[in-house]
Symmetry: C2
């Protein structure tokens, strides 16, 4: 699949740059967006600009939907071919933190559903790839979700996100927070979902994610045997508004959905 | 200080073993303790047994208080010389997870207060050390807490811990969870506190920590210029029961305490 090959090449070519910028994070140029924790670095911008340029050459006419600037706009036709990117998911972790919990995320979508996706964790050199119907891999080896079936033994990412969404999480998910074996909040949806895909974690809940936060890792989880749905259990489309997101190893999905109060 | 030298030597000597067991974590022998998420591995036990043996030789008569088995008992005299250890803090992360968020933690205490402490993060090879009045270091270089003063720009670890403590966190800390810039829950108090000490994070709140979870990293934070108190702001003693824990860069301390509802 030509799109998957593009994704792999792009991620491999940009990993070293992001790794180098992270190592020099004390010197990275940064601006604050909607609030003091909503950061934009030169690295986010550079990676996104490189993707836009590479796509214009390889797939002229295809739309890029991405987190920053002019690209942060949903397409007029949600079914058309498009690319969905977060240049650095987990920008706060890119800027601060002993563990490099951030990733470059790029997906190709059609009919509002990701058809191919890749996530690169540049510091630890983990490259996750998947294409519809072809399975998911980590550094070339097939991966598979966990077999955890008991919620009390499950590790679940409760992604609190921005301050504006936290009240919703506290109101809708206290039962889930109390029930799961381990609560985690790493601050990167992409990292959280990739951990589910390779069996290192079991679930993920978020109230209002935007498509670039999950497009690539959604298909990676699905192709690894897991499930990704809206919080009401309905099918996930990339551009149908902020309906929240539940991702799991599949076995736990119904239980986790049942632990979230309806709106 | 002889105690600090002992801590450093012990941590250096045991890092490779823990790193190797983590790399082979699929084969690590494990038992379940109080619940499905409360795990004990052969690595926890081995490190603790080695510490007990080394201490018996170097400091005969000194008491070891540690997380596992017969050592998980508070001393009769809380003021006496003692050693406080968590052989692996973050055992769940040791067993699962793409990022090695766990550490070996060893402190020397007297009068119920840590006098020297060390934390080794074995995979990333971060060694944190501190002694009372002598400052804190990371791999030999002095470290200092962050200067973040606005709660909206702060990164704060909300440690949900075991299922039995979660209701308390949800009841007492919703205002804190809503107010801070970034919520994190990495599943290792030791890692969270060391990140505060080196300025990569700004705060930490927990409802019911036991002394081995914070003895070493408490003094590392304090010697790096931060603060560690009970949740009511009162002074922290290692063995005075589960009064909860607030740790910060100092500048944010009063604000964070004010965001936690009294019992």
């Amino acid at each position: 699949m030509r799109e998957l090959a593009f994704i792999e090449t792009f991620l491999r070519e940009n990993a070293a740059y992001v790794r180098e910028r992270h190592a020099a994070r004390g010197q990275v140029t940064m601006t604050v967006k909607s609030n003091a924790s909503d950061l934009l670095t030169e690295a986010d911008l550079t990676v996104q600009q490189r993707a836009a340029a590479a796509l214009a050459e390889a797939f002229p006419g295809d739309r890029l939907v991405a987190e920053e600037g002019e690209h942060a706009v949903y397409p007029d036709d949600p079914n058309a071919r498009c690319w969905v990117m977060d240049p650095i998911d987990g920008t706060n972790n890119f800027v601060r933190g002993l563990f490099p919990c951030f990733g470059i995320s790029l997906a190709f979508a059609e009919h509002g559903v990701p058809q191919a996706g890749g996530v690169m964790l540049p510091v630890s050199d983990h490259l996750f790839l998947a294409a519809r119907g072809q399975g998911a891999t980590l550094n070339g080896s097939p991966i598979r979700v966990s077999e955890v079936q008991e919620v009390g033994g499950a590790k679940v990412e409760v992604e609190f996100g921005w301050t504006t969404e936290r009240r919703l999480m506290l109101e809708r998910a206290p039962d889930l927070i109390e029930a799961v074996g381990q609560v985690r909040c790493t601050g990167s949806a992409v990292v959280a979902l990739c951990q589910i895909a390779c069996g290192e974690s079991d679930g993920f809940v978020h109230m209002t994610l935007t498509p670039w936060d999950y497009a690539a890792s959604q298909i990676i989880v699905e192709e690894a045997g897991g499930l990704a749905t809206r919080l009401d259990g309905g099918p996930l489309y990339l551009f149908d508004g902020k309906q929240g997101l539940m991702v799991s190893n599949g076995a736990l999905h119904e239980t986790l959905i049942g632990l979230v109060k309806p709106r």
